[in-house]
Subunit: 214 residues, 2 copies
């Protein structure tokens, strides 16, 4: 038999936990850590507050769980891109992915942004180390592309920042965009915007835009 003496989580637990995590992501994205009330999360999940505390021992614990869930989703084609790959294809795909994320998971993007603006006090050791390693690997690839004349851009780091910045803007600043344009961006507008970023970045790197992204 399996050893299920203690702390075994049943079906109900798993379901409720996910329910709470989703509610929490919404609230944290909207009000930040300090601004979010456990009661609000509970209300959104249609559970009593005490129940939320039953599954997540504390507010901080809940927040960390939300953050972890977001970080776990953070992977892309670019992770495994190599020096031999076609820069235009890889970058265009990467941008398309990032924009897809901004469209489908804006709250996740906002929570991450809030965390960074606050100085990333909760992105502890393990993630940070990993992140730096990831970045170094990616920069190395881009650097190779630059040195072999495959792309023309002044700096690998800055190029990646600019891609992130443009893509995240559509999630983080959607309130401003909605206001300036008089209406919320839908799927079709996101497609246009994606093409606009791809056009800007690839042309900005002296690359041809692959047919499918035109």
């Amino acid at each position: 038999m399996t050893d299920n003496k203690i702390n075994k989580e049943g079906r109900i637990g798993a379901a409720n936990k996910q329910l709470i995590l989703n509610a929490a992501e919404f609230e944290f994205a909207k009000h930040g850590f300090k601004g979010t009330r456990i009661q609000q999360v509970a209300d959104r999940a249609c559970l009593p507050k005490t129940n939320v505390l039953y599954y997540f021992k504390s507010k901080e614990n809940l927040y960390l769980a939300v953050l972890q869930q977001i970080l776990d989703e953070w992977n892309s084609v670019f992770d495994h891109a190599t020096k031999e790959d076609d820069p235009a294809e890889v970058l265009a795909k990467y941008i398309a992915e990032k924009m897809e994320f901004s469209l489908t998971r804006p709250d996740a993007s906002r929570i991450f942004a809030l965390e960074i603006i606050n100085g990333a006090p909760n992105l502890k050791g393990f993630y940070k180390e990993n992140n730096v390693a990831w970045m170094e690997g990616r920069v190395e690839v881009v650097q190779y592309w630059i040195e072999t004349g495959k792309i023309q851009t002044p700096n690998a780091y800055y190029l990646l920042y600019h891609i992130w910045a443009c893509c995240q803007h559509y999630a983080d600043f959607s309130a401003q965009i909605t206001h300036l344009q008089g209406k919320q961006m839908g799927e079709s507008e996101f497609e246009e915007a994606t093409k606009a970023i791809i056009s800007l970045v690839l042309k900005g790197c002296s690359l041809e835009i692959p047919e499918k992204y035109r």
Copy 2:
């Protein structure tokens, strides 16, 4: 004689108010509205908490004053650009200005970002109206440049968003950048980054980069 019956603010008042505003900007940028304690602001300004409340009736009032101060700084060469101006010059100058702002006033940028991510609940009527009008005027100019073939870019709105996004990134996400690069960006790095954005955007719009921005 001047009518100074009531509510006249003396020298001391003006000085202290500014002291408090600066302290508040720092704290609000770091912890957000909800996360900031009046006591923290007071400590940073080296004044007792009660004194802060004396000048600004409430926390919200203080926050609005900080926000207003930031908004008042928000003007640029691009405000008065016309259809006749040279797109390359105007855009390059605009980017340089925005980056200068990110370098010298990162806290202001962060507060604005937090405000937008939160859905801009405090950017009330007057500012919003003005902002939309400003945007329409700018889009009209860019649109003219597009239609007359002076620049090549898919969409005027998106172009402006991408410029903002790139420039703000260096203020709002500086914690991430510092961590990824292993050191804080100084003036010289900001100069490089500015040139990188100008290169990206101008090339991305099929424009020649003016000599002075190379």
